[in-house]
């Protein structure tokens, strides 16, 4: 018999209690895997939507991390186009709109120029791209069109104003499939922001795009642009992925995911602490006997912490399997699978298992300390 076998034997003494504690830890881990998976998936999908259209840089107002609150004069676009190394610039206005009488909330609607590279990058599967003649026309992503049950020529209400579906496009990913695109001017009018955009999407020349230092130089040139009066424009040019990662929306999503996960982990830790404390109280006599037989205090501590870690280790494995199952199950549903594709990345799984082992150690530490304090003399009298 080795020490690990002894730990497992002790854990198996109270099978039901150990199983429920394992389940508590498993749920905490599954919560982490699921929430962080969805948060990471949202971030990845958003970044892919930029990169898939060949966007290298996103230009926004300096200090703005929330895409929707950035406001830039559309005329800046001309200056951006003149920067050496810039291949193309697409002014973009984005807003979050509710569709289907409020059944679909927070759907991104982009306002793009009809001749911009972003509009041209769309893969139309039904109907056609918007043209200058399509006033109040709209393009719907495939998932959004399916969710709204709209076809070419149908009308959708955007902020109480009817738009006619001119085309349906295949998005770059599931997130992009749940977006809509209108003419820039139409969206500016609708949102009462004429001549304003939320961001400029910049495509760099191929030789610059593949050279990081050259791209950084272009970024600096953009950020040092001045207006006609010599005043700085106050704009920031960020690589698309960095812009997404630093955005307030993504930060909130990450914070909520990790915050909720941390709460679940704390609850799991308390459950482990409770179980191990009960176990120590039940085994005061036995711990005293072990000490009388020569076991050191550190070995007793290792035994109790080891039992807690064994419970959490098993719980973590079950939790990872459960979390992956939940993520896959939810992704397969129409209402969520069509919205975003969660990401179950190995670092998230490792972090979840690591967190489970940390809560095991934390939950086991106090009971182990109590066990270390057991008096041999008194415990031998205690039967």
């Amino acid at each position: 018999m080795n020490f690990a076998q002894l730990l497992v034997r002790n854990v198996c003494r109270r099978k039901l209690r150990s199983v429920f504690t394992c389940l508590g830890v498993a749920l905490a881990v599954a919560t982490t895997v699921t929430l962080v998976g969805f948060s990471s998936g949202l971030q990845r999908s958003t970044a892919e939507a930029y990169e898939g259209r060949g966007i290298d840089l996103v230009v926004v107002r300096t200090g703005v991390t929330q895409r929707l609150t950035s406001s830039l004069d559309q005329s800046i676009g001309r200056q951006l186009r003149s920067v050496p190394g810039v291949d193309d610039v697409n002014p973009s206005q984005t807003d979050l709109i509710s569709f289907g009488e409020g059944s679909l909330v927070g759907i991104p609607v982009h306002g793009w120029p009809v001749d911009g590279f972003a509009m041209r990058s769309l893969t139309i599967t039904s109907g056609r791209l918007l043209s200058e003649r399509d006033a109040d026309g709209i393009l719907l992503g495939e998932s959004l069109a399916a969710s709204l049950n709209k076809r070419i020529g149908d009308q959708v209400e955007v902020e109480l104003k009817p738009f006619t579906v001119a085309g349906i496009f295949a998005g770059i990913n599931v997130y992009d499939n749940m977006t809509a695109v209108s003419r820039l001017a139409d969206l500016q009018t609708l949102m009462d922001r004429p001549g304003e955009v939320t961001e400029f999407q910049v495509k760099l020349a191929p030789r610059v795009s593949s050279d990081r230092s050259a791209a950084d130089r272009v970024r600096q040139l953009i950020e040092h642009l001045h207006d006609a009066e010599g005043q700085p424009l106050g704009i920031a040019a960020l690589p698309a992925r960095q812009f997404v990662e630093n955005s307030t929306e993504m930060g909130l999503a990450r914070a909520m995911a990790w915050g909720t996960s941390a709460l679940a982990m704390i609850i799991g830790s308390l459950q482990v602490l409770n179980t191990m404390l009960m176990s120590v109280f039940e085994r005061v006599h036995e711990i005293g006997v072990l000490k009388a037989l020569g076991w050191s205090t550190s070995r007793v501590v290792r035994m109790i912490v080891g039992e807690a870690l064994a419970i959490c280790g098993i719980g973590a494995c079950v939790g990872v399997a459960l979390g992956v199952g939940i993520v896959r199950g939810l992704s397969a549903t129409a209402w969520l699978g069509g919205l975003l594709r969660p990401e179950v990345a190995p670092p998230v799984l490792l972090a979840s298992v690591g967190a489970a082992l940390v809560i095991g150690a934390l939950g086991g530490f106090y009971p182990a300390w109590r066990a270390a304090k057991v008096s041999v003399l008194q415990s031998l009298r205690y039967e």
């Binding site: 006997v289 009388a292 020569g294």
Partner: protein
């Protein structure tokens, strides 16, 4: 002070010098200025009525407790509280308790291995040694049984095998036959005799029973926290 120890040529294994033990919470003096010497190879029994202090004396000798005043030496080294007493208990002393104190979820073979975790043997070596010890106490056929599947006599023999796990120079037994029927008790005492005569083990046995005590070479009587006689000879006070 009272020291009942006769002068013997064999080396001193354990020495209790002017040991007293006061329990302040109950304001009870369990031992008063007791001195006792145990030589290597001794078979000593300590007798006395309940509350006489014999278990307290055993606890001091077994490094489970420390005296309020006085000293206990093992192989010449003081068992002072700051020393790592668990090492002494693990390697120098084998305990045999009245209630056996076997771990209920472990088999006889596994119970015997428990003290060996503090040693340097591998898992395979621990298992082999535990098997040999169980064979020594006549339980080779029952080594995979849980304590609940063994008779009380067999349980005590498992406990004796466990006490020998780290090959300690001293065995301390606290009422080893107290929970056994006469036949099982006889078997345990026969085992003690073998361990003493054939293996030269040093044994200290606490008992109420005259019959058990008479198996030993030295019989020490304790009363009111003091040693009052050895082998029928009153001790000087």
């Amino acid at each position: 002070m009272n020291d009942s120890s006769p002068s013997i040529d064999r080396p001193v294994l354990l020495q209790v010098e002017h040991a007293s033990r006061l329990y302040p919470d109950g304001n009870v003096t369990a031992l008063r200025d007791v001195s006792l010497t145990v030589h290597t190879g001794d078979y000593l029994s300590i007798m006395g009525p309940s509350g006489s202090g014999k278990s307290t004396l055993l606890n001091l000798m077994g490094a489970i407790d420390v005296p309020t005043s006085g000293e206990v030496y093992f192989e010449g080294e003081s068992l002072a509280p700051q020393r790592r007493l668990h090492k002494i208990r693990a390697h120098k002393i084998g305990f045999i308790f009245q209630s056996f104190h076997l771990l209920p979820t472990l088999t006889a073979l596994e119970n015997v291995q428990i003290p060996m975790f503090e040693g340097s043997l591998s898992a395979r070596q621990r298992r082999a040694r535990a098997g040999e010890l169980l064979e020594l106490v006549g339980l080779a056929e029952r080594m995979h049984h849980l304590p609940a599947q063994l008779s009380v006599g067999q349980r005590q023999r498992v406990a004796i095998a466990r006490s020998l796990a780290n090959d300690p120079p001293l065995l301390l037994a606290d009422e080893p036959t107290g929970n056994l029927d006469s036949r099982s008790g006889g078997e345990v005492l026969d085992l003690f005799d073998r361990l003493h005569r054939q293996a030269g083990r040093t044994l200290v046995v606490i008992t109420h029973s005259q019959e058990v005590a008479e198996r030993a070479e030295r019989i020490v009587h304790v009363r009111d926290g003091q040693i009052v006689s050895e082998n029928g000879q009153p001790c000087a006070r």
